[in-house]
């Protein structure tokens, strides 16, 4: 294996070495503007090397499997000026068994993927031929290999499957985008269900509902919950906490949200989008409670930050990325939550989520797709309005959590998980 070759080569100079290699094959088809537009095959190789020489860390990466000597010598060079290592590489440990490989995905070829995309597009166009529909289907087979100089050595084969259906509807100068996507590690994705959900977002937006500025109760859809989860995920980053930049840095063990909220990071969900048994530092994954009944339970730490902070690494990789975030369901059906609101908003998608001051929790976002609630019913899409508030304050003001949950995947914000609908007492809405 290449990773062991690297460890062997670098060990001649370095006291500690780890190597990670990812190899990947992807097939994809893309529909755009009501037609099959493109298809692709992708081959990827990525090699990361980390060395410790005289207590200092150096890193290098390459995409070229024939560049082993190059990547090793660049890592060794970087280590001369590197940061102090605050860790030792992990020894070999027993891994939890995980379900991340679905053989049913192997025979899935482009003609069948085209058929799946066409079916979703046809459904959207059957609902409204004025929509410009699109769809994409991605299938990836990967292998991850890890080895280090203390004898730890792991390898895992993954399958990934990602399906999305989208549409765009232009009426006058009004432009509406909506869609639905699902990412997981198994073949069993119901494309009909995805198209149906995409259509539902259009159906709910058939009317435009005027809205007056003010303080309103707000229901976040599972996807809309990203507005609150972004700040929370940034704040539970152990490095931010260690450096004192996280507003939660001294809140471990304290009540920080409504006691109805429990959030667990679970890397072992069967075929979950981010399920895996070990991270890119050779640390076995484990279940990490983030918030239990409103109490902050953990920050997440990579190997080096854990060493600096005097705690244990949590198995979230060198980038400290959460895996599958799971929010416990509540006791109300979503429909009952809706019925309880005489005037409010259902918010689903935003523009400018990462602007403002997300680490501090402050958000001020454009409502890209949101609906007005009036007398317990959705009455139409809200346009040209902004939602402003503070994510941590909003999480203290949770008034209901739904029984229903949906998988949400937002790779841009590194957020993926199983989320319910969450209702917040009051948030400020600015309208034009």
């Amino acid at each position: 294996m290449i990773v062991q070759d690297i460890v062997e080569k670098a060990s001649k100079v370095a006291q500690g070495v780890q190597a990670v290699m990812l190899t990947q094959e992807t097939s994809a088809v893309d529909f755009d503007n009501n037609r099959l537009k493109s298809a692709q095959s992708s081959q990827r190789t990525q090699i990361e090397v980390k060395v410790i020489v005289n207590g200092k860390v150096g890193t290098s990466t390459t995409t070229d499997p024939h560049d082993i000597d190059g990547v090793v010598s660049r890592a060794l060079e970087a280590a001369q000026f590197g940061s102090q290592a605050h860790f030792e590489l992990p020894e070999s440990q027993t891994l939890e068994p995980v379900k991340i490989f679905d053989p049913a995905l192997l025979p899935l070829a482009k003609p069948e993927m085209i058929r799946m995309g066409q079916q979703m597009m046809d459904m959207i166009l059957a609902y409204n031929p004025e929509i410009l529909a699109g769809a994409s289907i991605y299938k990836t087979i990967s292998k991850v290999e890890y080895a280090n100089s203390r004898g730890a050595q792991y390898s895992a084969d993954h399958t990934d499957f990602n399906v999305s259906a989208v549409g765009q509807l232009v009426r006058g100068t009004d432009i509406l985008f909506a869609g639905q996507n699902l990412a997981q590690k198994k073949r069993a994705i119901d494309t009909e269900e995805i198209a149906t959900q995409a259509i539902e977002y259009f159906r709910m937006a058939e009317n435009i509902a005027p809205i007056e500025p003010g303080e309103l109760p707000v229901i976040f859809t599972p996807q809309g919950l990203s507005a609150l989860m972004l700040s929370l995920t940034l704040a539970v980053d152990g490095k931010s906490a260690y450096l004192g930049a996280s507003p939660l840095r001294d809140k471990l063990g304290q009540q920080i949200t409504s006691s109805s909220l429990t959030i667990i990071d679970d890397p072992f969900i069967e075929y979950g989008a981010n399920t895996s048994a070990f991270d890119n530092e050779g640390i076995p994954r484990k279940v990490t409670p983030i918030i239990e009944k409103g109490v902050l339970r953990n920050f997440i730490y990579d190997l080096d930050t854990a060493g600096r902070a005097g705690v244990k690494p949590t198995g979230h990789g060198s980038n400290r990325s959460l895996t599958n975030l799971v929010i416990n369901p509540g006791d109300l059906p979503y429909e009952t939550m809706l019925r309880s609101i005489s005037k409010g908003l259902l918010v689903h998608e935003f523009l400018g989520l990462d602007q403002g001051n997300p680490i501090n929790g402050d958000f001020s976002v454009n409502l890209f797709l949101a609906y007005k609630i009036e007398n317990g019913k959705l009455v139409g899409r809200v346009k040209n309005a902004m939602l402003a508030g503070n994510a941590f304050d909003a999480l203290k003001d949770i008034t209901a959590i739904s029984q229903q949950r949906e998988w949400v995947s937002m790779p841009f914000f590194s957020i993926s998980g199983l989320f319910p609908y969450i209702q917040v007492g009051k948030l400020s809405v600015t309208a034009k």
Binding site: Q40, T45, D174, I175, N366, M386, K432
Partner: protein, 457 residues
């Protein structure tokens, strides 16, 4: 390399067009977070993409392994033949053979990693020692040198070197539960000197973070807004630039009605330009990623929509001239219609004249970012200052501007005489899954009437 690519393209059988683009990049980075060096290292990235076009359908093959190029070419061709069932639109271009060499004043590849680390440490120490309310810092230095090799089945071969060095420094202030960040960026396409001498900016970023701790959030509402040059650039890019990318328009009859050439979009003296040939710009190339020469393209002239940005496919379909705007973030993606260097042309009004008759307004400065969804846009200033009775007044934070682009362009009533380009810092533009593409943007101060500023009321 030319022979190798042409040889591989012989495997392009049964398709109407094929091209191949290879990239070879080395980069180094030095990152500090707080007092400690966070990571230091270097990377080499090689890979390529083959595109094949058949009956209006595209087949792509992307790869890191350059061993068997003819195999990748025939793979892309097979895929194209699988999906093409329609008509091909693809504007012809004169074949060119050209080699574009980088011109570096101070070649960052010859600067020892130890020196880069030392300079970043100087900036970091300035921030950390500035004030007791400075909680922590983040310094991100990156340089990269990329060579792009492009050949197509129509005889074009282009080899281009793309150097890039950039720096982002952030000062993070804290006062009890309030955390505020102030950021400064810089960079250059012509060498390491672009990140030197940034000490004064490090000091001002640290002071800004401290000042923002005491600044109140802006009160949400509708204001007369004046944007500084950086934010004008972000606005031009986000609010209007993306609408002029014709892949949003070319197969969309409704969008064509909205974006019809000859329609008035703004005041008489509003001119918006995208120019991929601008010397030294972050979005500058001699050719785009389909071998089309770049040029200066007027999008809005005298307030009237006069042009839009094209790839060879969208230009053919819309029967409009080529503009040289097909770009890709890297070899794992095909080129799509993208901006290069986008700006509002300089006007005649001084900043003092622009604010003198504003009773209550917001002066929005520096940019955190922006996002657009066709007619809706939002962009965030790093901070703002209230304008009261014609004077710049107190500092405010959390200034997010939003609106409908068609209304907002019409509401630009004054254009400043002080055009500036954005600093060549890290980051770039995202579209679909291609991020961050290097783009330039800029403009003068502009004044916008009735602009919605987000925030609690």
């Amino acid at each position: 390399m030319q022979d190798r690519l042409n040889e591989a393209l012989k495997a392009a059988l049964g398709v109407e067009y094929a091209d191949i683009r290879l990239e070879d990049k080395t980069n180094t980075w030095v990152n500090f977070r707080g007092p400690d060096l966070d990571t230091i290292g270097s990377a080499r990235t090689v890979g390529g993409i083959v595109r094949a076009l058949y009956k209006g359908g595209w087949g792509y093959a992307t790869f890191n392994d350059l061993a068997d190029l003819p195999k990748r070419v025939s793979e892309a061709c097979q895929t194209a033949r699988l999906i093409g069932t329609d008509t091909t639109y693809y504007t012809p271009v004169e074949p060119v053979v050209d080699v574009v060499k980088a011109k570096l004043i101070k070649d960052f590849r010859t600067i020892p990693l130890a020196d880069k680390k030392e300079l970043m440490e100087e900036y970091n120490n300035i921030i950390l020692k500035h004030h007791k309310k400075i909680q922590t810092s983040a310094i991100r230095y990156n340089d990269s040198f990329k060579t792009i090799y492009f050949a197509n089945s129509q005889g074009t071969y282009i080899q281009e070197e793309v150097p890039d060095v950039n720096l982002r420094i952030a000062a993070i202030g804290r006062d009890n539960d309030i955390v505020q960040t102030a950021v400064e960026t810089t960079g250059a396409t012509d060498g390491y000197q672009g990140v030197e001498g940034f000490h004064e900016k490090a000091r001002s970023a640290a002071q800004k973070a401290v000042d923002l701790l005491a600044a109140p959030p802006v009160t949400g509402g509708k204001y007369t807004v004046v944007t500084d040059q950086i934010l004008t650039g972000v606005f031009t890019h986000e609010a209007f630039g993306h609408l002029s990318e014709s892949d949003f328009v070319y197969e969309n009859p409704r969008m064509q009605e909205i974006m019809v050439l000859g329609k008035r979009f703004g005041v008489e003296n509003l001119n918006i330009i995208d120019d991929g040939s601008l010397p030294g710009g972050l979005g500058t190339h001699r050719y785009d990623y389909e071998g089309v020469p770049t040029r200066k393209n007027y999008l809005i002239k005298d307030g009237i929509l006069v042009g839009r940005l094209h790839s060879r496919e969208t230009a053919a379909k819309m029967k409009e001239p080529l503009t040289g705007n097909a770009r890709a973030v890297h070899f794992q993606h095909p080129p799509i219609v993208r901006m290069t260097n986008t700006y509002i042309e300089q006007g005649t009004v001084s900043f003092a004249d622009m604010i003198k008759d504003i009773k209550l307004g917001v002066y929005a400065l520096n940019a955190i970012g922006g996002q657009t969804a066709m007619e809706m846009f939002t962009f965030s200033a790093a901070y703002g200052q209230m304008i009261r009775d014609g004077q710049v007044a107190e500092l405010v934070r959390d200034v997010v501007l939003t609106g409908n682009v068609f209304d907002t362009l019409m509401h630009i009533d004054q254009i400043g005489n002080d055009l500036k380009w954005n600093p060549n810092g890290p980051g770039g533009c995202g579209k679909y899954d291609q991020y961050p593409l290097r783009v330039g943007f800029g403009g003068p101060h502009i004044r916008i009437q009735d602009c919605v500023v987000g925030g609690q009321q």
